[in-house]
Amino acid sequence: MNQKAPPAKAAAPAAGNSRANTKKELPEHLKSYKHVWVLIELERGVVHPVSWELMGEGRKLADKLKVDLAAVILGAPGGTEDAIKDSFGYGADLCYVVENPALTDYRNEPYTTAMTELVNKYQPEILLMGATNLGRDLAGSVATTLLTGLTADCTELDVDADGSLAATRPTFGGSLLCTIYTLNYRPQMATMRPRVAPMPVYQAGKTGRIIRHEVALPEESIITKVLSFLPDSATGKANLPYADVVVAGGLGMQNAENYQLVRDLAEVLGAEWGGSRPLVQKGWIPSDRQIGQTGKTIRPRLYIAAGISGAIQHRVGVEGADLIVAINTDPNAPIFDFAHVGIVADATKILPALTEAFRKRLALAAARPAAE
């Protein structure tokens, strides 16, 4: 009973399935909804990179629809300047800016109020947010307030011939994707996770229109208070989404002791380590190291997957990698359908050899004069 779970019947043939009521009959009052919006996630003075990734996707949608791409920036008074400048640099035609002391830290109430007010006043046809803790917290509230559709964790966004947003996401339980439409409601909302889309090119010096909007958000009317914020210490925290090299293991590693071989190689390469979901369930790795649809999406230059079968939920999290090297004993493992380089072999034997070879090469290179 959920949007991504197609009803049992619809799941039968793998392709070309459609529902009866997929005709677009947009009510008159929603026809004025135009343009593509991206929420710029500004927290503690820092814009989450997923917002820029979404600007890249939003630009493509706006160009196809021949409409404007707008960045929506909510923040503290005087705290939005850099975000505005960078929004133009990443492709915005215009920025909607709401500055208010109540928007200094993320809180659901004032953010939902500000966002829904903006939508009702300026009427976008598409509204995109990052599938971060902030974006997911906010998107559900905004969509419910506006009574419109919201598709979570999309892996692909497109517009079809009649201008509807086609939001594609994996559907549960198998090697399937589904495309979801919000035909007769506006805005069409979707979230996308960090690193699913590539970072767009930054064009310095670009400018555009800025529309400032005042929202009344008296602090007395906001019940939730931020008492304090404990920033994560930089050390020891996994940063899989933005790592250059990632080494991961799956059930093919057989046990927690063998998983150490993955970490050994990662250490030599200065890489992040992670794994498939069953490893989290077994307690071999912490949950913030899970890679895939319900874990992290990664986009490294090199991804080494050892003993991972390559289920769709894993695949969607790694497909953005420049180079995927897979080690699996089964020549028919699905991972070889999307890896670039395959090794049909026992990962517990290959990993130590790779670690050793890289250790030697990197040590050798370090010993050479820097001029080389």
């Binding site: 509230s141 090199l302 395959g342």
Partner: protein
């Protein structure tokens, strides 16, 4: 105190298989489980009840067989379980689901008292949207606290709650008023085993079962497929990459020889990567 916990019965994803030829989901015989994320919330609810007294009501909307998961919650120690089931709910997306659940909770409040706190799971493993919790909160006009790592203070008399919430770059410590809706982060606690008395009670108790009319759902047009703004237009298998992975020759080779070949391929396909790793290691 009255606590309501929303749970969902989901297929055990670890056991789902895809048919190798037709590429369809093989759901027959797949066992169902309580959505694992919901258990962190249920356990938190039981702990609050054990500390402050009161009752925990577990609710779900689903097919009649979802009563199995509710019964399981009773064996863990929940006081009461309510199943909302009706054919009108088939095909609900998250907006329609939160509509039905919000009325279910209103009805539960009428019967057994206004809840002081409502728990949802962080997300489900089948739907996986994390939208239903915020949807219910909005519809019931409740404050919402998602991704809660820890309930720090809970003051029933002052009707205040202080929690640690996982944000992107750290932990937000938030204070808000009851009633509110909370979703717990995974790993925050472990589900208890439940006492023998609870096991016996769970096996014997009746699950309160309501249809849409009995739950007082005012507008059936807002339920199920009809009430869902999102439409699944197409279900398809991902297209394979044009070419399969380049296979490294392994026949008759030692692991060392194989790994040299792998490194050769890496360096050819990602020139400069090894040098950059080197530079990083040297601390540039």
């Amino acid at each position: 105190m009255h606590i309501v916990v929303c749970i969902k019965q989901v297929p055990d994803s670890a056991q789902i298989r895809v048919h190798p030829v037709t590429n369809t989901i093989m759901r027959q015989g797949v066992p169902t489980i309580i959505n694992p994320y919901d258990l962190f919330s249920l356990e938190e609810a039981l702990r609050l009840r054990d500390r402050f007294g009161g009752e925990v009501t577990v609710v779900t909307m689903g097919p009649p067989m979802a009563d199995a998961s509710l019964r399981k919650c009773l064996t863990y120690g929940a006081d009461r379980a309510v199943l909302l089931t009706d054919r009108f709910f088939a095909g609900s997306d998250t907006l329609a689901t939160s509509y039905a659940l919000s009325y279910l909770i209103k009805k539960v409040a009428q019967e057994w008292g206004e809840p002081d706190i409502i728990f949802c799971g962080k997300q489900t493993i089948d739907g996986d949207t994390a939208q239903v919790g915020p949807g219910i909160a909005k519809r019931l006009n409740l404050l919402q606290l998602t991704y809660v790592a820890k309930i720090d203070e809970f003051d029933l008399a002052a009707r205040e709650i202080v929690i640690h919430r996982r944000a992107e770059g750290g932990i937000q410590i938030l204070k808000t008023k009851l009633p509110c809706l909370v979703t717990m982060l995974e790993g925050t606690n472990d589900m208890r085993r439940g006492s023998i008395e609870d096991a016996l009670r769970g096996a014997r108790s009746e699950i309160v079962t309501w249809n849409a009319a009995e739950a007082g759902i005012p507008d059936l047009a807002l339920c199920g497929l009809k009430g869902s703004p999102t439409i699944v237009k197409k279900v398809f298998a991902p297209s394979p990459r044009a070419e399969k992975a380049f296979q490294i020759e392994v026949q008759g080779k030692t692991p060392a020889e194989i790994s040299d070949a792998v490194i050769g391929e890496i360096n050819q396909r990602q020139p400069g990567l090894e040098q950059d790793i080197q530079k990083m290691a040297a601390g540039f």
